[in-house]
């Protein structure tokens, strides 16, 4: 006789994105017949798409969230990434290579998890070696997150007034980076 096996009892908590195993159900008919009760609405992940255009090419970005409004930084940031992907060889007139799509994907995934709803959008700037950097220059602060191609990413931070500056490997210093970004508001 089949055994239900190990029951992994879980509760979905608002704001925590789940694994792909919690994909949206397919009951397109009956879901239209009912509405959940109780104040705690189980958040449902939705898959979203958005298109961006650059230099005659179309890029589609897909992601999952709970259908909330997009933050103000979202469109300028993604458009910035797409604009990098469509740069031709020698885009800097000094023999620059095209931007590495993997670097773009890595940077995009990282920054998406870093920025808060009201964070200012960084500028997305290409590097001649095929990497990119994300930079902010606000409130007397220069912050650059640098993805040199084939090197571990790092960030550089400087207070223009005092000249205080520092440089840190990226992934090991996310809390510091988050606090710097929040000071840019």
């Amino acid at each position: 006789m089949p055994n239900p096996g190990t029951a992994e009892l879980t509760l979905q908590e608002r704001g925590i994105l789940a694994t792909s195993a919690y994909a949206a159900y397919l009951d397109d008919f009956s879901s239209a017949d009912r509405v959940p009760v109780s104040a705690f609405q189980q958040p449902v992940l939705v898959t979203r798409n958005r298109q961006y255009y650059s230099r005659g090419q179309t890029y589609t970005i897909t992601w999952q969230d709970f259908g909330q409004p997009l933050p103000a930084w979202f469109d300028p940031l993604i458009q910035g990434f797409v604009d990098l992907l469509t740069l031709p060889p020698n885009w800097d007139s000094y023999g620059a290579v095209v931007i590495d799509p993997k670097v773009v994907q890595d940077a995009m995934s990282f920054i998406h998890g870093l920025l808060g709803p009201t964070s200012p959008a960084p500028r997305v700037v290409p590097l001649s070696d095929g990497g990119l950097q994300l930079e902010w220059h606000r409130n007397g602060i220069d912050l650059e997150i640098v993805y040199d191609r084939d090197e571990a990413p790092h960030f550089y931070y400087r207070k223009r007034l005092s000249g205080e500056e520092s440089e840190h490997p990226l992934h090991e210093n996310s809390p510091l980076l988050k606090s710097i970004i929040s000071s840019l508001n």
Binding site: D92, R123, V125, S128, Q133, E135, H137, V146
Partner: protein, 129 residues
């Protein structure tokens, strides 16, 4: 240990202006339409530049460095400024560009690219987008 590919040339004076073409993708315009340059424009370890004195010797205006490069701007740093950031400034004439030079040295760490950028001035400002 092999010698670095470019050695500092003391015959290039400190006040020599070194011109650098600035691609539009390296330029940010603020709300007032004022362009600023990203440090990304100054990160190449072998940074290509034009030596003003060589261009002047050949009767060329600085803007000649961006002739045929629509939308580009032209910025200048001084040799002294580059050397203050541990960069070598060298001549590197090319068959089709006798004014070509190189600012050679590590720029990826220590904010060198940012500091080179800080010393840059516009020679020819690009038109806003």
């Amino acid at each position: 240990m092999s010698a670095p590919p470019f050695q500092n040339d003391p015959s290039i004076p400190g006040d020599e202006r070194l011109f650098r073409r600035i691609a539009r993708t390296w330029i940010n315009w603020d709300e007032q339409g004022t362009p600023s340059i990203s440090s990304a424009a100054f990160r190449d370890p072998e940074l290509s530049v034009y030596l003003e004195s060589v261009m002047a010797r050949d009767g060329r205006e600085p803007e000649d460095a961006i002739a045929g490069y629509s939308g580009y701007g032209l910025a200048a740093i001084t040799a002294a400024h580059a050397r203050s950031l541990n960069q070598a400034v060298a001549r590197d004439p090319l068959p089709d560009e006798p004014a070509h030079g190189v600012v050679y040295g590590q720029k990826k760490r220590g904010g060198i690219g940012s500091k080179l950028r800080d010393g840059a001035i516009w020679v020819k400002t690009p038109a806003p987008a």
